[in-house]
Symmetry: C2
Subunit: 227 residues, 2 copies
């Protein structure tokens, strides 16, 4: 479904050059539950952003369903981000001037869903992540883990086919983290592809494939046998 071929990401030049990704080749097949792991700073968020078409490689190519994404128009990329994928950011990126409910409604407004449907679905998603009593709170009125859960609910708003999750349980206690992993597991069982970055070794049991990065390179890919 998504393929990165000889992908490099290089920032700056000369003395100040940082190579975030070096010749990365990975494939995400439809329906997989892929986890990307590795030390802090090794390139996980960078790779996730490139696979999710939020960022472009310096060298190399990303293919979506066999098609070069570098030849997609900005409109096609926007459709991918709005209708096909859902993204949970490592630093949430909630809109500070919108309530939890409005933050979750936002992708549905961009997708022109009607008001009654949006409010109903946003409420249901927030209840699913345990925030039914925080609908009208603004981000600064929410705890770190509550903000993270709003970001998770928002990523699910438009029924995405692929979910990109950057450390979605980083600010959650084990019980809330389990609720989130169960949501992702159920979606995956319905055929939705999950690509998740995590530091938590405990969560590898949910993955069908684990990609390990170190210093911008893929050092190991572990494929689990289907049960």
């Amino acid at each position: 479904m998504i393929k990165a071929k000889n992908v490099w990401k290089i920032y700056g030049r000369g003395e100040a050059k940082t190579i975030a990704l070096k010749n990365v080749n990975v494939e995400i097949k439809e329906g997989e539950f892929v986890m990307i792991m590795g030390p802090s700073g090794c390139g996980k968020s960078t790779l996730l952003n490139i696979l999710g078409l939020l960022d472009i490689p310096t060298k190399g190519e990303v293919y979506y369903k066999g098609r070069k994404t570098s030849s997609m128009s900005e409109n096609e990329r926007a459709v991918f981000r709005r209708k096909i994928s859902g993204f949970i950011f490592q630093q949430f990126h909630l809109i500070k001037t919108l309530t939890a409910l409005e933050n979750v409604e936002l992708p549905m407004m961009l997708d022109e869903k009607d008001k009654i449907y949006r409010k109903k679905r946003a409420k249901k998603l927030l209840e699913m992540v345990g925030l039914g009593d925080r609908l009208n709170h603004y981000p600064h009125q929410l705890s770190g883990g509550q903000q993270q859960r709003v970001a998770i609910a928002r990523a699910l708003a438009n029924n995405p086919k692929i979910i990109f999750a950057d450390e979605p349980t980083g600010n959650l206690d084990s019980k809330s983290g389990l609720i989130v992993m169960n949501i992702l597991k159920e979606l995956n069982e319905k055929g939705i592809t999950i690509v998740m970055v995590t530091h938590d070794q405990e969560l590898t049991k949910y993955a069908s494939k684990i990609i390990k990065l170190k210093d911008g390179e893929v050092v190991e890919v572990i494929e689990k046998a289907k049960n």
Copy 2:
């Protein structure tokens, strides 16, 4: 050293009222390594901010070395925050327009340390957390875990007597997290008091005391015997 007595934190009023802390009584003795744990949204960051004099209770009192902090002048509170305590925030709060080095220098500038001393100490602290090659990067040029490590280095800049750490390993892989915990452990062995919020059960072995919160209340305090 720090005592919270009948502390309440209430936001809003009427229908929109949120009780973040209910009648909390806790004590942090000098030299302790205290961990505060509990579910997402239960009041940990709120309690840490109140113990660290960054926030004030709605009801109740916080004592520092036997003295009511509500009768401290704003200047005295500022001296506490600048000279005595070091704070690591759950969402880092780095200055976006300053490099990693400058962010770590900032508390020393506010404390009027000379330029040569500041640069040398800031560099040493960043090297200690593995960021020796990222000194001149801006926050947006750093990974989530790298930003967290800058926040940690910054909290240590003025040789604090008390360190308040809000989930300092939340964005770190186990190896970087271990480096951070070893830094805190060594400081604690030198007599520095640590008050840390964490979701990670694996880290409780470092604590001399564990305070468990649930729905804004203290539900359990576990004191470990001295070895």
